[in-house]
Amino acid sequence: MRKTLTMLRRQPLGAAGGVIVLVLIAVAVLAPRLAPHGPKEATFAPYLAPSAEFPMGTDQLGRDVLSRVIWGARLSLYVGLVSVLFGITAGSLWGAVTAYLGGAADTGSQRVVDSVMALPPIILALALMAALGQSVNNVIIALVVLLTPTAARTVRSIALGIIASPYMESARAVGASNRRIIARHLIPNCMAGYIVLVTTNVSYAIVVEASLSFIGAGAPPDEPSWGGMLTAGIQAIETAPWMIFFPGVAISLAVFGLNLFGDSIRDVTDPRLRGGLG
């Protein structure tokens, strides 16, 4: 408890980020209970300004913007977490294993990473979406393809440092198998980096999903995606500015909170800073 309070004092921004993340998770999980109306329910008059009945107004089809923003949190978090979990996990394993194996496996895999990372991420994602078709799960696949090489590159560099350490040498000297060394020594020691990658990339994934949906290549238009809501909003930016304002605020808050939280986690897991936390 004392340690947590100390941490909160040392990392007030991280704590604020954590609170935002917690609220985001709560909103996403409780969306069916919190949203006053169905996200696709188009039963009201279009372009109603924010009022007591519709705190965020209604959109061009007469849907409650508040309900769509709430359901949008679920979609954003789902896309963000699932893509990051798969992408960063796969990339981390790839980076750690190839770093350990070294030689042609490492060089070859790094050239693959180079070639994927050479492409601008949004262009690569767009091409993938064009090939796969518009759906929420395809957005996740596109994000996994984007995130895997980044994670592979980062975790490889961490793994190279670990591989050179004396305890790895000892493990090899006592005759531990490669599988055992990777599973018991290498991967656990890469976990700090892995956690930081996960926390910092959720916000990135949310922004990419919103960007893809904004340009009409992400989630299908009827799904309550914050990016898709922005697209609908710009069509009526003068008539119904609330259509673009509230999803915009939601994206900003979510990304802000996740970044603060991610930065804080990085600081906490960084041995140089952790020492100071004592």
Binding site: E41, Q60, L61, Q134, P220, D222, Q235, A236, E238, A240
Partner: protein, 533 residues
Amino acid sequence: MTISKTFPILAGLALIVALAAPAAQAQDKPRSGGILTWFDYGDPGRLDVHAESPLVVQQATAGVYSGVLHYDPADPSKVVGDLAERWTVSPDGKTYTFHLRKGVKWHDGEPFSAADVKASFDRILNPEFQSPKCGASLKPMVAGVEMLDANTVQFKLKFPAAPFLPSLASAWCRVAAKHILAKYGDLNQPEAQIGTGPFKFKKYERGSVIEWEKNPNYFIPGLPYLDGVKQFILVGGPTQVAAAKAGKIMLWDAWPPMRKTQADELARARQDVDIYQASINTIFLIYLNSKKPPFDNPDLRRAVNLAIDRQELVAKALEGAGVPCGILDPKLSGEFALPLEEVNKVPGCRQPKDQDIAEAKKLVEKHHPNGVDIEVAVRSVGNYVDRAQLVIAQLRKVGIRGTLKTHESAAGYAAWGKGDFTLIATQDRAMDINDPSGVFHIAYTTEGGSNYGRMSDPKVDELAERALKESNKDKRKQAYWELQRYILTRGDTATVAVAWVEGWFFKDKKLQGYKPGLTTYDNNTFMKVWLSQ
């Protein structure tokens, strides 16, 4: 006041009047020069006006070609000669002889003759050749085309058909050069755009711009007034409205119309434009694939016909600018349209919707107790995606759960043509001519060029054919009323008429001599248009 005192004042006034008069006249007198700018809603890609059907293809090539006939640019309700100077009709009404202009030259300098007219219409009327616009309207009527001499051509009809002249005057029935057809095989490439029209095809930058330049050898001396026309390819409402607000385009008079909110934005941004609400002779349709489950089942088709709330779609998706329910719009088709009071009592169109929704739900439950999942297809153009979301929301109320699948414009048309869809949530179909026959022969008869649902009903075919051939106006009206009543009461058609689309358009105040056509395709050659500044 003495004469000596009043004289200088009178003389001054006379001078002012004398100087002002020519200025006022100059405002009315067409002046040459200037470039007109407007836009295409998408990239046409292919340019063969005989073989394609998207509006952008017609727009891209409109001023390049001439027709045998066309709608008078000064009075778009009148059919007048274009390449034809005059024509005669045989007493039985089955033979039309057109006397063509002499001395007309193609843009490449080759002389024009009746052989070009014959080559063009032989191509369009060839049963093996897919001509979804001109061919689709002329094939049922025209038996063949003969060249009598270098300047005379004869059309022989299968029966005396009232819509023949309006159909021939359609902006899709353009005359192409025989030597160009022989050289290129089709009219798809920019190099093949050799016409006799007021403008020459100058440039086509894919996805960016199409340009025409003045044809100095146009067969009407003094025309066109403009030096050229520039059509920007602007995809998506926000881009189009931004271009309009920034003054980049002078005219918005084609599909998709502006929505009310967009027109209001434009009115706030520009005072140098006239904004007006108008019909564009276009019907908003929903298609059900009658050859594939679940809509091969008439009960499921009936459920959709009942569930669709046309009034809500007009109120929300068209922002009130449309005429819901009618298969024919009384504003456009006059007495041929079934009165809307009658139409609005038919199941599917009646309000409130409760009874229709309850019946539709029962029909769905009878075959799919747990509801049914379908893919709802739509082209990503105009506000189709918004409309599709409303359609999905309406169908969900009766147990039909739709997942939206969007197509790029050309890919969508390709999928519809192959029958590769379950339900098309929205597809506007512009009429090729302002005649009641249009919509039935396009979207309802077995051979209809846009009968994407592929439903075949011999009674619809028979009634449509009878109405088409009828030359007595009262009997023709009765035939069309019978046809409309039959389709509406049958209630399980694969083509669902949602509404006749209206919308907001604008014209720059300096644009003179422009009158909108009765269809979205007509009167866009700009042959008599000029700029006052």
